[in-house]
């Protein structure tokens, strides 16, 4: 199945700029996607799927648009 992935800010280094199409053999959890991208587990990444914040337990579906945000501070 295919999903669409966009990495924000410094996370681009783990997968490039813009919207990228990713092919997955099976449905995986969002947290597994982060592992596959080699994003350190210590980094508090906010996962947004189809415009809605989800947890790492979310099972990715074909066609999902996934946006990953780095932690921010200060405001």
């Amino acid at each position: 199945m295919k999903i669409f992935l966009r990495l924000c800010g410094p996370l681009e280094r783990y997968g490039g700029h813009g919207i990228n199409e990713i092919s997955l053999q099976n449905s995986i959890k969002a947290s597994q996607l982060l592992s596959e991208l080699q994003i350190p587990s210590s980094l508090k990444v906010l996962i947004v799927v189809n415009g809605v914040k989800v947890t790492g337990d979310y099972n990715l579906q074909a066609g999902d648009i996934v946006v990953l945000f780095p932690p921010v501070s200060g405001g």
């Binding site: 809605v52 945000f69 501070s73 405001g75």
Partner: protein, 583 residues
Amino acid sequence: MKGYIGKVLRIDLNNLTSSVESLNLLWAEKYIGGKGLAMKYIYEELPPKVDPLSPKNKMILMTGPLTGTAVPCSGKLTIAAKSPATNTILDCSIGGHIAGEIKYAGYDAIIIEGKAEKPVYLHIENSKVELKSAGNLWGKGTHETEFFLKATCGPEVKVLAIGPAGENMVPMACITSELYRQAGRGGIGAVMGSKNLKAIVVKGTNGVKVADPKQLTARAKEIMKKDTLSDDNLWAYTDGTPIIVELSNSTGVLPTRNFQQGTFDGFDKIHAEAVKAVRKDKKGCLSCGLGCGNYVNTGQSVVEGPEYETLSIGGSNCGIDDLEAIVEFNKLCDDLGLDTISTGNTIAFAMELTEKGIKDFNLKFGDVKGYLKATKNIANKETELALGVKGLSEKYGGKEFAMQVKGLEFPGYEPRGSWGMGLAYATSDRGACHTRAWPIADEAYGDMDPFTIEGKAELVVGLQHYNAAKFSTILCDFWALSLETVAELLTLVTGKQYTEKDLKIIGERIVNLARMFNIREGFDAKDDRLPQRIYKEALKTGATAEKLLPEEEFNKMLREYYQIRGWDSEGKPTGEKLDELAI
């Protein structure tokens, strides 16, 4: 103690004289510098109930022990006074390079008191201190003022200036430096204007002595590489604060149409990618490796910005999805000397008053022309909008949707989508503010449930202590570092041993001192409130649809907050707490 110069420059505008005195090092031990030490001076030197726009108010520019050293992200300056917008204690933080310049000129702090008979500017070059006529600059924007002063005093000087808004003592007037950096909130620019002080020009050529220069240099390099320039902080360099627009929209906390909604249809026209599409360059403050500033050029306007607060409060909150218009609004506010947060909120409030038929200000959500015109009129005090949200609501009604606390308008985070943020606004020392505590990072943007009061009082208390200590050293808000690291850096700079525990106690002491100032001015628990919209009106869209922050839940959270703090039911610190903190 090393790190401090040990000197305060005091300016008497009544008599146009200056004097130099020793910095109170006993206070510095207890309050460090920046926010904490400036507040201590304000608390001790201002008699109760002073009119903030009278000559009796004082304006204090305070550096910290880390200022001007090799410590990363230590380029901020605190400017403090009693606020004309809120009547509370007020400390603002401004970036750029002027904080270091004040230290290099030989001062930890500058205290400005009295009022000049005619407009003047203060020119400091090391020990040479002069007050010069600013008659030719009165009425000019901050940009023209800074260009003139650099042409007159030398291109290397650093400048703080007010625009027409400050001169006209508009309660949302700010102080500008390097054209686009602001001490923004609470009307600090109006205090400067009330003193007939148009600008402060500084050039310094000395240095700052630190306790352990060799070790400090080595650790600063190491920390810069491993801690500052890490994935936790590099968002500031890659995107800057515009990254928060999409984050807020996705989590339903993006203020839209005067906080009527938490999502905005046109968010993708004003988010980080849109800003980066017109970005031409980056900028950082003194000693900063992050460089969060974005220089953009839309063809119509060039600014360093717009920051998230401007994109949200001056964008979605006014129903504006036209980035070019927001950039123009940003430029106008910077030049006229207006805080974009309070200005944007006031325009949005007037738009809703008009929409509801309460008072026709001829302003509609999304009306670019009206919004830009209103901005100019506010600075020139040619409209009642110059009263700000609280003043307008007292005159025309709409208090339930007047988005302010203690007279300070809301920043760009919806409390119905992060309940701790509501508590942070209600209990902040200067009214609705996001820089005293920013629990939204743990709530809507983090792992904590944003729609519960569970654990929020404790979270807000801890963050208020953390920020009070950090802003007293002074380090930038955007660097997420541990208090343990702050303590290590302070120790290397000052030679005095600091621990994380010491800094937490100092943070708590500062919060309590600010509270005591506000209590002296007549504030109590009844002022720690949010507008009724937050308690009673559910949001309609996105992740916060049908959400509100019920008043009884807010009250429980507030009571728990007082309890944790050791304050009584009126929100007053107990005698035991003050003794414990040696206030």
